[in-house]
Amino acid sequence: MINPKDHIYSILEKIFDPEIPVLTIIDLGIVRDVIIIDEQTIEIVITPTYSGCPAMDVISFEIKLALLESGYKNIKVTYTLSPAWTTDWMSESGKRKLLEYGIAPPKKNSSRVNKMLFEEETNVSCPQCNSSNTNQLSEFGSTACKSLYKCNDCNEVFDYFKCH
């Protein structure tokens, strides 16, 4: 028999981030804990990526919906802030999926974010042609978690999921 916790995770693995629809909430590292209170009552603990991320309410709703459809009756979604979310929690398969989708995945180590003034994240490879001859157009992109880059070889503009 399948472990009930694994079963819940397998349901959560099918919930996608509304803003980056190739990533699941598990890929992103948003789900911090699954607490089984009794057979029908569970608590899912999630953490926001950015404090103002507008996707959190939708994600919380989708978690409830998916679990209700799977027969759970009482579902509580709670938020935790600590430890603060970091791109280091993004799964390897999540990074692969980002790249295939056309978004450059975050570099491994988030401790590199305290940059000097006018310093850009270097060696961000173009998700289209893989060239590292790229430069940053804007530190802030189409969503809080991305910055905007341009490839100088294929001339394509792309998003970079910045380290956080």
Binding site: S51, G52, L81, W85, L117, S138, F140, G141, A144
Partner: protein, 247 residues
């Protein structure tokens, strides 16, 4: 133990970030170029997020102590001018891009130093919010510093606008360091670090810190400029007309 001091301090943090976000959001679709329009609104979104976390926490504390039913929304939409404890600098008009940038720079540098201290205080929730927010604030400091340098060390026109912005905003920076009974940290202790940060960027930007001028105060006590009333009127109008309305 929950006390009034923590509630007041939390509301002050919530109000300042909300009011600054409300002002910055006026730039949405009016930024000088698309990328910077997106940047200032992204920063605004971070501030609203931080503000929400503080209001949620304040509501939780108030409800526990006073047996009320406050929520983040009732605190943002149903308190009046004198009840808002934001810094005055947050409620000032945006002015031009230089003035908006400079305010963000002054505030973000202060915000960074303040939150570096708040992450170590005893209150677990406030310290968790501080740790989370700092990751965002570091980006705000970098972005606004770069713009202060770009404009200050730019053309004659951009330089003169920065000088004008300093003249307008500097008298509102003294309030950051006015000690008050509700403070969670000793704000006076971060003043010299703040001045150093400002000086370092101003040096690159060919700008100078003004000499001794009169410093405005009152925000933390709820004594505001005439601007806050207009901001609240607009921001709260929908909830005042249709209390409890949801999307």
């Amino acid at each position: 133990m929950i006390n009034q001091k923590t509630i007041n301090a939390t509301l002050h943090l919530a109000d300042t970030t909300l009011i600054l976000a409300q002002k910055n959001s006026e730039w949405c679709a009016h930024g000088p170029i698309l990328e910077q329009d997106i940047a200032i609104t992204n920063i605004t979104l971070d501030l609203i997020g931080q503000s929400r976390m503080f209001y949620q926490y304040a509501a939780e504390l108030i409800n526990e102590v006073e047996n009320k039913n406050e929520t983040e929304d009732t605190l943002a939409y149903f308190r009046s001018e004198r009840e808002f404890k934001n810094f005055l600098i947050a409620e000032l008009p945006n002015g031009d891009w230089a003035q908006t940038i400079l305010r963000q720079f002054f505030f973000s540098c202060f915000h960074q130093l303040l939150f570096e201290k708040l992450q170590h205080i005893e209150d677990k929730q406030i310290s968790a919010i501080a740790v989370k927010s700092l990751k965002e604030i570091n980006y705000h400091v970098k972005w606004s510093s770069e713009w202060v340098i770009r404009l200050g060390d730019g053309t004659l026109e951009s330089h003169s606008r920065m000088v004008k912005a300093i003249e307008i905003l500097w008298p509102y920076t003294g309030e950051f360091f006015n000690a008050e009974e509700n403070d969670l940290i000793e704000v006076k202790k971060i003043k010299s670090n703040w001045i150093q940060k400002i000086e370092a960027v101003f040096f690159e930007a060919n700008l100078l810190i003004p000499g001794n001028v009169f410093m405005q105060t009152g925000g933390k006590q709820g004594i505001h400029t005439e601007h806050l009333g207009y901001i609240l009127t607009e921001m709260q109008s929908l909830q005042r007309a249709y209390p409890g309305l949801e999307w």
